[in-house]
């Protein structure tokens, strides 16, 4: 049987999560007999990405007005090729917080998605938003949550033994909402509680100022081995302001940690999972959730 050629287009600036997902996908040995997958880096702002030789082209490129020419050229030059777009970036909460002129933005997405034969949402919440905002026809929409290799993480972690340490793992950027977590944690008074923050980013100084004077909060920097980071904490906090999917939630569960997550976007796909509890983007809500967690510790001890 002839191999089908699949070409994945990624941005120069593609986020780490997307590359991890692609690495995992390309490493699937059971696929390699039937498909030949390649990754091509493209420039988002180029006028065209040229004529590409593939049976299926999968775009992981971030849509924007500036990438509109390249997307339309892609369709024009590949009329008989199946074009698939995977939306890794945009969500309801992203739009709410980052897009001042929402209608113009929705118009841009509708035009770009219309070039594709299929649009892939990475979570059910994201797909629900796309349908509600009529960004893509529902018969074109599919949900495919990204997967990465979590086996090593699962092998190298033991279940938590206590209930004192809250962990946050991710880039120190506005999106991740660690400012809300720090403010919420500071409102708790339990002396034995701790908050460990793993990661680096542009908000580090700001977050350190927020944490100043509370010795229970520690910045641990980038974690070379994620398993070690998860092993060091008893519960994982994900206070993200927006999150198309949220691989960190899968990681935390694979590392046998329960999770407190903000109730936005892709994170909501886990609603109903007893290992995950949800919070609004409000420091007082986080205080309550953290206190509940710390308190469950003392109750178990006394019983």
């Amino acid at each position: 049987m002839e191999q089908k050629k699949i070409l994945h287009l990624v941005d120069d600036t593609t986020a780490g999560g997307v590359m991890r997902m692609l690495d995992h996908l390309l490493a699937q040995s059971d696929l390699s007999e039937t498909v030949d997958q390649k990754v091509l880096k493209v420039k988002r702002t180029a006028f065209s990405w040229g004529k590409l030789n593939a049976d299926v082209i999968v775009s992981h490129v971030v849509p924007s007005w500036r990438s509109l020419p390249a997307f339309s050229a892609l369709r024009a030059m590949h009329l008989d090729t199946r074009l698939v777009h995977v939306e890794h970036s945009y969500t309801r909460a992203f739009t709410t917080l980052n897009v001042p002129h929402k209608r113009r933005f929705f118009a841009m997405l509708r035009v770009i998605y219309s070039f594709f034969d299929q649009v892939v949402a990475v979570s059910h919440s994201q797909s629900g938003w796309m349908k509600e905002r009529r960004l893509a026809a529902s018969e074109k929409l599919t949900v495919i949550p990204p997967t990465v290799d979590l086996e090593q993480l699962s092998r190298n972690t033991m279940p938590p033994k206590s209930k004192t340490t809250i962990g946050a793992i991710g880039r120190l950027e506005q999106q991740k909402g660690f400012d809300i977590l720090i403010q919420g944690f500071r409102l708790t008074r339990t002396p034995g509680a701790r908050l460990l923050i793993f990661g680096e980013g542009s908000q580090r100084l700001y977050l350190e100022t927020l944490a100043e004077g509370d010795p229970r909060i520690e910045f641990r920097g980038h974690a070379e081995d994620p398993a070690e980071a998860y092993q060091a904490v008893d519960i994982v906090a994900i206070p993200s302001r927006w999150e198309a999917y949220g691989l960190v939630l899968d990681e935390a569960l694979a590392a046998k940690r329960n999770v407190i997550a903000s109730k936005v976007d892709g994170l909501r796909d886990r609603e109903g999972d007893t290992r995950v509890s949800f919070c609004n983007l409000d420091p007082y809500d986080w205080r309550l959730a953290i206190n509940n967690f710390l308190l469950s510790n003392t109750i178990e001890k006394s019983s």
Binding site: A93, V99, R133
Partner: protein, 328 residues
């Protein structure tokens, strides 16, 4: 099921409720219900409301006093329409208002809240010659924080889905959800609209025309101005965690606009020290209002200065002259 529900929160509104209801019953678009929420009135409000129930479109809900936000929330919870309009029990809707908003919301599926400008009326129902003519298109969160285009509590018609997205239930609430935050006695409107801009991806947009007659009650104490500023600051503090970068960028200019607005109120109250103090604080906070609205800012400055230097005489005479001119 009616297409639209119009929620009328009413507290001791016997003087104006009948006129308000008449303006709603006279809407040219007629597939709607009116929900009067009697918020524990001690006057004839409930009798007047009951007298209107001959019109099958009118429903009456009573409750112990919960305040304006609480009355609106009760009305919203009872609303059966896909669209919900708000009209306070002392304001009036022009006959074509509901039709204009329904047409607008049907044509623009990304718009969640449709509003219009307003003409101001006094206690006797006379036009004051002052209008609220807000920005109608391309409204961003910054516009809402600075100059709240929705303007007053009787200007907006809102999709039910938007209200559902805004609804939450505090742990101590047993009856129904909150859309407006009932812990606010002032600034409950702007708190709700800012939350809409920072927590949902709905667009808000206005339609042309002054389709509401918004009643201004004369008088008012300077202490009330302080409380209003306090409520505004509490709104900012409550919503800041949602998007700290946004507030860092826009807080000074919006506080300056808020202070200028309160200075104008103090001028109307002929409170010379308060007016001057509020205006001075506004300019110290940010010069954006000076550049963005020079005429209004300068007239506020001039009036505050005249009031401070010559006392209330000239301002009062100017006001009398203006009303004489209008009555001619």
């Amino acid at each position: 099921m009616p297409t639209a529900s119009i929620v009328v929160p009413a507290y001791n509104a016997e003087a104006t409720l009948a006129e308000t209801l008449a303006s709603l019953q006279a809407q040219t678009y007629d597939d709607f219900e009116i929900i009067i929420v009697d918020d524990g009135s001690q006057d004839a409000t409930s009798e007047i409301a009951r007298a209107h129930q001959g019109d099958t479109r009118v429903r009456l809900v009573g409750q112990a006093n919960r305040g304006l936000a609480g009355a609106r929330n009760t009305g919203i919870a009872a609303a059966r329409g896909k669209l919900v309009g708000l009209c306070d029990a002392d304001d009036l809707w022009m006959p074509e208002k509901l039709a204009a908003h329904i047409h607008h919301l049907k044509a623009e599926p990304d718009v969640g809240v449709s509003y219009s400008g307003s003409a101001l009326i006094d206690e006797a129902g006379c036009m004051m010659g002052i209008k609220q003519a807000p920005r109608l298109k391309n409204v961003t969160a910054a516009h809402v924080l600075n100059r709240n285009p929705i303007g007053n509590g009787s200007a907006a018609v809102i999709r039910k889905t938007v209200l559902e997205a805004l609804a939450y239930r505090p742990s101590f609430e047993t009856e129904r959800d909150w859309v407006f935050d009932e812990t606010f006695r002032q600034s409950e409107d702007i708190e709700c609209w800012m939350r809409l801009m920072l927590k949902t991806d709905w667009q808000i947009e206005g339609v042309p025309g002054l389709l509401t007659h918004y009643r201004i009650n004369a008088g008012g104490l300077s202490a009330a101005l302080d409380r209003q500023l306090e409520a505004w600051e509490r709104m900012v503090a409550k919503l800041r965690p949602l998007n700290p970068e946004f507030f860092a960028r826009h807080e000074p200019s919006s506080r300056a606009y808020q202070l200028r607005y309160l200075a104008r109120r103090a001028i109307t109250n002929l409170d010379r020290d308060k007016a001057w103090e509020l205006f001075a604080r506004s300019v110290q906070e940010s010069l954006r209002p000076v550049f963005e609205e020079p005429v209004k800012t300068f007239s506020t400055f001039a009036a505050a200065l005249v009031l401070k230097t010559f006392g209330p005489g000239p301002i009062t005479r100017l006001g009398q002259m203006k009303s004489k001119l209008q009555s001619i």
